[in-house]
């Protein structure tokens, strides 16, 4: 491997949790720096410019959203927020405030690795030119140049909004997008609260792309938060 191992900053106040995350990451060939408080985390982020940040939302000194905002002032480093169940509001706030994805406690090491991989890859891709043809799973193919969508080889007609919604998700494939983010991308900032439109179009899109829309394999719902386009990790 010629590339240096990615450097991950773990901001977590629980020592046991921090230990588990560090061991998991190191066993997957990541380098790890740790911080126990938000303030320390921000300092570390400035000092080391990590490749990704794993940020706990339940820090004692500052809420996750503030940390995200502070980091986003000067860095586009991928931020993965870790939260307990039932904190949907703070998750959405952190995501809208610039975090890239979230993971809910308790989580397995595999899940953490998958999320992190997507986040890192996305960060790398945003520097590259996106490829003209995107494949989703085995059945869906999107030609971004010719604006064509094929499902199992057959071309599917999408309305302009559906297409725009799909591309917005494709750009963040594997990562969660909040309702607000999607509404702003597709409809514009004035419609950030008209969620039912988003839901209607999402349902239509699912019916066009998924073989069983009630058990979606691609367009995953994150209740109370938003949607995620599943991508192979």
């Amino acid at each position: 491997m010629t590339e240096p191992k990615p450097l991950i900053l773990v901001v977590e106040d629980e020592p046991q949790m921090r230990k588990f995350v560090r061991i998991a990451l190191e066993s997957h060939d990541y380098r790890v720096i740790e911080a126990a408080t938000a303030t320390e985390g921000i300092q570390q982020a400035i000092a080391y410019s990590p490749d990704a940040v794993v940020l706990d939302l339940g820090l004692p000194d500052m809420d996750g959203m503030s940390v995200t905002r502070r980091v986003r002032e000067w860095s586009t480093v991928p931020i993965l927020v870790v939260s307990a169940r039932g904190q949907e509001d703070s998750k959405v706030k952190a995501l809208d405030g610039g975090a890239d994805d979230y993971i809910t406690k308790p989580f397995g090491a595999a899940e953490l690795m998958a999320r992190l991989r997507v986040a890192l890859r996305h960060a790398a891709e945003s520097r590259d030119v996106p490829s003209a043809i995107v494949r989703l799973g085995t059945e869906v193919e999107i030609d971004l140049v010719r604006r064509l969508v094929r499902v199992r080889g057959a071309e599917v007609h999408l309305t302009p909004i559906e297409y725009k919604l799909l591309t917005a998700l494709v750009k963040h494939a594997g990562m969660v997008m909040t309702h607000r983010q999607l509404l702003e991308r597709v409809w514009g900032p004035g419609h950030a609260h008209q969620m039912q439109y988003l839901r209607v179009y999402m349902t239509q899109l699912r019916h066009k792309l998924e073989s069983n829309p009630a058990r979606p394999q691609l367009l995953i719902t994150e209740p109370g938060i938003g949607y995620r386009l599943k991508a192979e990790a």
Partner: protein, 907 residues
């Protein structure tokens, strides 16, 4: 001879007095015959002795030195309480700062001039009321008082000196004082001091000598002061004797009854009766008999009556209002009943001829009083300023006008009827018809119009029906007799009718009160909830007294807050809240119509229950309110008592309910603990056991076993996670902390996400989904409904054999979305179908079973959405869990045209 034992009532009263005295502060009055005898000096001297060597904490509340040098020098060294400055019409006035005094809480407070009238804007009208409040707070008070300021001696002093004293102190205050120290100075010395300018500053001195400080005056005042003190000492001695059962001069429970009336001279009468009662060691009873006629007295009279009745009470007497047809009979009857041996009544002030027209109350009394002594005391008009003539109400005059017109019309009609119906020969019939007319007028329009009708009837009879016709001249003497008889009969009929009307009015009034009392007590008895009680009370108070109402009750923090307030009555920032607080603390009425804080907008009455204070009732008077009226006040007190005990009952019921709830919660917590501790311990034991054997160096070595152990630990950890999640959800549901954030969402989406989340545990099972594409969006909280679906799916995996298929179906019916999770397992037995939703209930031990909360949580969440959840038998075998979510109208979303056009522009 029967041996006299101490009267139990009296002993009880004495015990109460003793109890109160121990909590109350002690009042010491420095009592003098005239200004300048050295009361203030004496008080300060005594206070300095008390405060010497810091034995007692002495503070000067307010002391007027009147610029006297020796008095001023006595103040030096004592702590002075800052005075409160009030501005009234541009004049700065300094008053005792009552609140500061209560806050400072010295052991002994000096308050000069007990009879002082406070500046407008103070809490109380009079300083003695301030002192009462200070005493009630347990602070001792030294104060000064001159004899002419005693209420009962007001008239005597006025007689002696010709000066009407306006600032008076009720005798009750004087009699209740712990100690009265007479500050005495021979008259010569006082005059000498006055001349030397020691009493008043020189420029005032000459004038004062002329008016008040005449030698004769001073001698008389001195005698009065000494005698009054002696009377007090005498009373104390009698009290001692009573307490110790010494029978020598046993007080016979004698009472002096004074007839109180709205007359402006009645006050004088009351004071005279009080003096008589004092010298006889008798109690004073003030009685007013409300006769039907008295129901129509003017509002000015009513106010004066109320004032006179208050005077009786302030003089330590008991005031009673009786209702009867005949005032004299009732007065005597009551006097006998209460063992009153003397009745004091005012001299009649009306002219003598008046007695012929209507029977005199005094005459009746004299005739009926028999063994009871009657004292007739002069009203002495002229000494007391005559009250302003009560303004006659215009309404009455117009009524009289109507009555007059009616009298004329009725007489004209009956004359016409007589004329055409009977003619001049049937005079007896004509007379009967005329009399009928008088009766009609009297019934319909009252006394005066009926008298008018009587006169008119006689005149018209004379004019039309007797010879010579169409002339007032009388030819036959017999006709003259007819006229007189006819007139007398008419007048008697009028009087009788008037009396019947009066009785009817009185009965109606009594009826109204009884009915309203009955109604309120019945409704309050029926009402359970506090709010219903308050509304009921409000309605009755409004109807009966014509007031707007607010009720203040102590809140959770013990502070008063408005539990009920009609718009425009009271708000929390209102300055009247302060009055309410005062009433709450002192348990005395205050506000409009009382002597305490009379400038408030409302009358505040304490609400008391059997166990103590309950709250404060605020009554905002309107134009027709007559709360000053003693009868209305009595009725109001009864109302307040009813409301107070009803509220207390509601409070007790609420407390009982809470206690029951606490007990239930406690029981629930216990069963939760026992259930949870088992369910939590099992997975913990497995995790601990598995991991420890992995760590053990002698543990299993082969990779397959180690992996199996790890898998077990992992699964149990996940189970633990689910248990904790359910427990947390349950806690949140029960604490009411569950917030439902409803959004219009597709059912398909939430089913999809629940299935996605359950993917691992559903592996190996076929899950059918039937969700129609045209299903409308449903308002729900996606995170919570996802939880419901997950719990139902989890149950299905736990209680049905592995590999059996599941089905999720959604449809709409009757304004609801219906969602079904069905399995092909053993189903739920009929008797368990309700109970499976109960807390901690498990139909049977499932594989990897939970605490029995999953379905309870489902029910809680669905109920929070306004839906219903139940289980049915599935046709073809298995269980079918179904729940509904109410739809809202127009849930079909129209596409946003703006969005599409934006999109096309964007291209």
């Amino acid at each position: 001879m029967v041996e006299r034992r101490p009267d139990p009532d009296e002993l009880l009263a004495r015990v109460h007095e003793g109890e109160q005295a121990s909590a109350r502060g002690k009042l010491t009055i420095f009592f003098g015959a005239a200004p300048g005898v050295g009361k203030t000096y004496g008080m300060l001297e005594a206070a300095r002795r008390e405060g010497a060597d810091s034995r007692r904490d002495v503070v000067v509340g307010i002391v007027e030195t009147h610029g006297r040098y020796d008095t001023g020098s006595m103040v030096i060294g004592l702590e002075l309480l800052p005075r409160r400055t009030l501005e009234h019409r541009g004049i700065q006035m300094e008053e005792l700062d009552l609140d500061a005094a209560l806050k400072r809480r010295p052991e002994l407070l000096l308050v000069d001039e007990l009879a002082h009238t406070n500046a407008p804007g103070s809490r109380h009208l009079k300083r003695w009321q301030d002192v009462e409040e200070i005493l009630a707070a347990g602070i001792d008070v030294f104060t000064t008082l001159n004899v002419q300021h005693l209420e009962s001696l007001k008239d005597v002093v006025a007689e002696i000196t010709g000066v009407i004293v306006r600032e008076t102190v009720p005798d009750a205050v004087f009699d209740r004082a712990y100690e009265v120290r007479v500050v005495d100075l021979p008259v010569d010395e006082l005059l000498q001091r006055l001349k030397e300018g020691k009493v008043y500053l020189p420029q005032q001195a000459a004038r004062a000598v002329d008016h008040f400080f005449r030698e004769g005056n001073l001698i008389a005042l001195r005698e009065l002061a000494l005698r009054r003190t002696a009377e007090r000492v005498d009373a104390k001695m009698r009290g001692y004797k009573a307490a110790h059962g010494i029978d020598a001069t046993w007080h016979t429970g004698e009472r002096v009854l004074v007839c109180v009336s709205p007359s402006p001279h009645s006050g004088r009468l009351v004071r005279a009766a009080r003096r008589m009662a004092t010298s006889l060691h008798a109690e004073l009873l003030g009685v007013y008999v409300e006769t039907p006629a008295a129901l129509r007295i003017s509002s000015g009279d009513r106010d004066r009556l109320a004032e006179n009745m208050r005077l009786v009470e302030s003089l330590g007497g008991e005031s009673v209002v009786l209702r009867a047809e005949d005032a004299a009979v009732e007065t005597v009857r009551y006097a006998r009943k209460r063992n009153a041996t003397k009745i004091v009544v005012g001299k009649p002030t009306h002219p003598r001829w008046f007695d012929f027209v209507r029977p005199s109350f005094l005459d009746d009394l004299v005739r009926k009083s028999l063994e009871i002594d009657l004292y007739v005391i002069s009203g002495r008009p002229g000494e007391v300023p005559a009250p302003p003539a009560p303004p006659r109400e215009v309404r009455h005059r117009s009524l009289d006008l109507w009555g007059g017109a009616a009298a004329v019309a009725v007489v004209a009609a009956s004359t016409a009827l007589g004329w055409y119906g009977f003619g001049k020969d049937e005079l007896a019939d004509v007379v009967m018809i005329d009399l009928l007319g008088v009766v009609i007028v009297s019934m319909r329009y009252g006394y005066v119009p009926s008298l008018l009708a009587a006169v008119l009837a006689v005149v018209s009879f004379d004019f039309f029906f007797t010879q010579p016709y169409f002339s007032f001249a009388v030819s036959n003497l017999r006709h003259l007799v007819t006229f007189i008889v006819m007139f007398l009969v008419a007048v008697i009929i009028s009087r009788l009718t008037k009396r019947i009307r009066g009785q009817a009015d009185s009965a109606r009034e009594g009826e109204r009160r009884t009915a309203s009392l009955y109604a309120i007590s019945r409704e309050l008895g029926a009402a359970q909830a506090r709010d219903v009680l308050l509304r009921t009370a409000e309605r009755h108070l409004r109807e009966v007294f014509g007031v707007r109402v607010a009720v203040l009750l102590p809140g959770a923090d013990g502070m008063l807050e408005a539990a009920f307030a009609e718009p425009g009555t009271l708000d929390d920032a209102d300055k009247d809240m302060g009055v309410a607080e005062w009433v709450w603390l002192n348990q005395q009425p205050a506000g409009v119509g009382t002597d305490t804080l009379p400038s408030a907008r409302a009358l505040f009455v304490p609400l008391k229950g059997s166990r103590g204070r309950v709250g404060v009732l605020a009554l905002f008077p309107s134009a027709e309110t007559r709360l000053g009226d003693p009868e209305e006040r009595q009725l109001l007190d009864t109302f307040a008592g009813l409301v107070g005990s009803a509220l207390e009952r509601a409070q007790l019921a609420e407390e009982a309910r809470r206690a029951r709830l606490r007990a239930e919660t406690e029981q629930l917590r216990n069963s939760l603990l026992s259930s949870v501790s088992h369910d939590l311990r099992t997975p913990l034991a497995v995790v601990t056991g598995a991991t420890s054997s992995l760590l053990d160096e002698h543990g299993p070595k082969d990779e397959a076993t180690r992996r199996e152990l790890l898998m077990t630990a992992h699964e149990e950890a996940l189970r633990l996670n689910r248990l904790v999640r359910n427990l947390l959800d349950m806690t949140r549901l029960e604490a009411g902390a569950l917030t439902v954030k409803k959004d219009l969402e597709p059912i398909e989406e939430v089913v999809g996400s629940a299935l996605g989340r359950m993917e691992d545990r559903l592996r190996g099972r076929e899950v059918e989904t039937h969700i129609p594409e045209d299903l409308p969006l449903v308002p729900f909280d996606s995170a919570l409904i996802e939880q419901v679906l997950i719990n139902l799916l989890e149950n299905a995996t736990k209680y049905t054999p592995a590999g059996t298929p599941l089905a999720i179906t959604a449809s709409t019916q009757e304004g609801n979305a219906l969602i079904e999770v069905a399995d092909r397992g053993p189903g739920v037995s009929a008797q368990d179908r309700e109970r499976v939703f109960d807390k901690f209930y498990r139909a049977r031990e499932g594989e990897g079973g939970g605490v029995g909360l999953g379905l309870t949580i489902c029910r809680g969440i669905v109920a929070a959405h306004g839906g219903r959840i139940w289980v049915e038998e599935r046709s073809g075998g298995g269980a079918s869990f179904r729940f509904t979510l109410p739809l809202e109208a127009a849930t079909h979303v129209q596409p946003l045209p703006v969005a599409e056009s934006r999109e096309s522009e964007g291209r």
